[in-house]
């Protein structure tokens, strides 16, 4: 646990309703996620609503302290947490994290989600930096976009898509985690709950024009996530790009290593102007899947010809 973490997690072994807390999995500005086991020893992920600017759990305490002047904002944030729970409860998709319970305890609320074994895309990128193959990217994202389509169909935006929020099951099937619905709903209200962005993945409209959020906002993040798969680096943050755009197009940086079509698609997603991006997940998905076979051959031929060129130079 980093020393900057404001709120203390529930202690290991703590019995939360019928779940036993094992350990903290992750912490964010709005919540803490735990690994826990139910009465049948089935692992679950439990998300605790605990906005650290409003509720404070100190060392050794269970109940968070919520100052009276923060009560209204705390309630407001809780409403948004409910929105997220409600939206996820209506979603039943293999590529979207599944909510299995929701309850109230310790003066706050908890969302219980299915725990998946595997690792995050972030860990995968870290481990295979610079050697992730095109076929992997296409397969993971084509399936992930199935989940994202389902999300958008329910009039929900994720708003925090990034490698750390994509989980790869052992079978390779991706799962979309950690919805930003709460963040979205809280945006623009001067109430102590600051919206959070992940620089590099957040689209410019998330900083500048919250009224222009749409599926294209998640698409920007998908583009940035694919970009991160290529070389393990995050594109320049959108806010900085608006000042001085130093974005290195994927089609320039990785030409020859991946198909032109994939690289151009990534650049397309990362257009600063949302009207220039693929406007729906379906549009993007179509590009990623339809030419897959042909493109796969193209890369093979590309690399063969490169190798040949190399030989000729010698």
């Amino acid at each position: 646990m980093s020393p900057q973490q404001v709120n203390q997690p529930l202690p290991p072994g703590y019995q939360l309703e019928n779940y036993r807390i094992e350990r903290q999995l992750s912490v964010g500005g709005f919540s803490i996620v735990y690994l826990a086991y139910d009465e049948n020893d089935t692992p679950v992920a439990i998300k605790e609503y605990l906005p650290n600017s409003l509720a404070l759990r100190t060392e050794g305490a269970i109940l968070p302290a919520i100052a009276d002047e923060h009560r209204a904002t705390f309630s407001h944030g809780m409403k948004c947490f409910f929105e997220e729970g409600r939206a996820l409860a209506h979603l039943n998709h293999v590529n979207v994290v599944r909510v299995i319970n929701f309850f109230r305890a310790n003066e706050t609320v908890y969302m219980v989600m299915q725990y998946e074994r595997g690792r995050t895309l972030q860990e995968h990128i870290h481990k295979h930096k610079g050697e992730i193959r095109e076929i992997f990217i296409r397969n993971v994202f084509a399936r992930l976009l199935n989940g994202l389509r389902e999300v958008h169909t329910h009039k929900l935006l994720h708003l925090d898509i990034k490698p750390a929020n994509i989980y790869l099951r052992i079978d390779g099937n991706p799962v979309l985690l950690d919805f930003g619905a709460a963040r979205q709903a809280l945006e623009g209200e001067n109430n102590g709950l600051k919206p959070m962005y992940t620089p590099g993945y957040a689209a410019p409209e998330q900083y500048k024009a919250p009224d222009q959020l749409g599926p294209w906002t998640d698409i920007y993040a998908v583009g940035a996530t694919m970009y991160a798969c290529l070389g393990g680096t995050v594109p320049q943050a959108a806010l900085d790009r608006l000042e001085k755009d130093r974005y290195v197009p994927a089609s320039r940086e990785w030409a020859g290593k991946y198909s032109k079509q994939l690289l151009e698609t990534i650049d397309w997603c990362l257009d600063l102007d949302y009207l220039e991006r693929p406007l729906s997940v379906f549009a993007l998905q179509k590009v990623l899947t339809e030419q897959q076979h042909a493109v796969h051959e193209a890369t093979w031929i590309d690399s063969l010809s490169q190798r040949l060129r190399g030989i000729i130079k010698k």
Partner: protein
């Protein structure tokens, strides 16, 4: 006038904030006030609010842009505030035990000279050259005992009577006001006005080390954090105004306030608004929460494979 100023009030671990604070300045004069309310229910904060509001309103009326006599202004201001709190108690038929009362420390700076007055145990410190130049003596039982040599300052921190004060605004007794000397200020001097929630858990030396050569705007929030932590699970309301006076204050250290360009009749006031520390009505009742949870659980059940 050139100065940097910072004020903040926190509820601590209490249910409501009965402290009030404000600062206010014209082109040539500056007023700072801290009041720590006492009394049953919410009457303490009403008393503190009355005191702070009355002083700032009077200041705005009279400092155009100078006060004729700063000591006279302070004397009349506190006397009127005392009566106004008494009037409030009478109008609301409050008995003595629950009558609203408040401490008050108020300071005026004009022509590079500071004038202050206090009643109760809210304090003013003048810090200069890395030491406490002077501070107010609390109108408290423990301070009297320290002065008599009965207890030490360290013993006073945990003394059972440490919260008992014998002078305040409101109540039946006439308050005792202690006035300062006219104190000429030098560039770099720091004036601190604070409630006992701030000075109680901290050693006076801490104020010196934290604020010596520091930017008050940066240095005060961590100092309050420290006091709040030291106050523990029952930390009192904490209120503090910190003023750094002068021209040769580090140029990048703080955005100074330069009043020379202000019109004669202009004022700038920052006061903790009355409504702000009232606990706002939670938007969700228990029933709302239960309903939302039931709804989500039903959706989960319907969608379970």
């Amino acid at each position: 006038m050139k100065f940097a100023i910072y004020q903040e009030s926190r509820v601590g671990k209490r249910h409501n904030n009965q402290d009030r604070l404000a600062h206010c300045y014209s082109r040539d004069a500056l007023l700072m006030v801290v009041a720590d309310g006492m009394g049953g229910h919410l009457h303490g904060e009403v008393a503190a609010q009355i005191a702070v509001q009355l002083l700032t309103e009077t200041f705005q009326r009279e400092a155009r842009p100078r006060l004729n006599d700063p000591f006279m202004f302070l004397a009349q201001g506190l006397t009127n505030a005392h009566r106004a709190v008494q009037d409030y108690a009478i109008a609301n038929h409050l008995i003595e035990a629950e009558s609203p009362r408040t401490t008050c420390v108020a300071c005026v700076v004009q022509d590079n000279v500071a004038y202050w007055v206090h009643a109760g145990d809210s304090r003013l410190y003048v810090l200069r050259d890395g030491r406490v130049l002077t501070r107010t003596r609390d109108h408290s039982t423990v301070q009297a005992m320290i002065d008599d040599g009965q207890i030490t300052a360290a013993e006073a921190q945990h003394h059972p009577l440490r919260n008992r004060i014998y002078s305040c605004l409101g109540g039946l007794q006439s308050p005792q006001f202690d006035f300062s000397r006219k104190t000429p200020l030098l560039a770099g001097d720091v004036l601190l006005l604070c409630s006992d929630g701030v000075w109680g858990p901290l050693d006076d030396l801490r104020f010196v080390t934290a604020l010596h050569d520091a930017d008050v705007i940066q240095a005060v929030p961590p100092l309050l954090d420290e006091a709040e932590r030291a106050g523990g699970s029952n930390a009192d309301n904490l209120s503090l105004i910190a003023l750094c006076w002068g021209e040769n204050y580090g140029e990048e250290a703080a955005p100074g306030i330069e009043t020379g360009t202000m019109p004669f009749d202009a004022h700038s006031t920052q006061m903790l608004e009355f409504e702000r520390s009232h606990a706002p009505q939670p938007e969700l009742t228990d029933a709302d929460i239960e309903r939302a949870i039931d709804e989500i659980r039903n959706a989960i059940r319907k969608n379970s494979p």
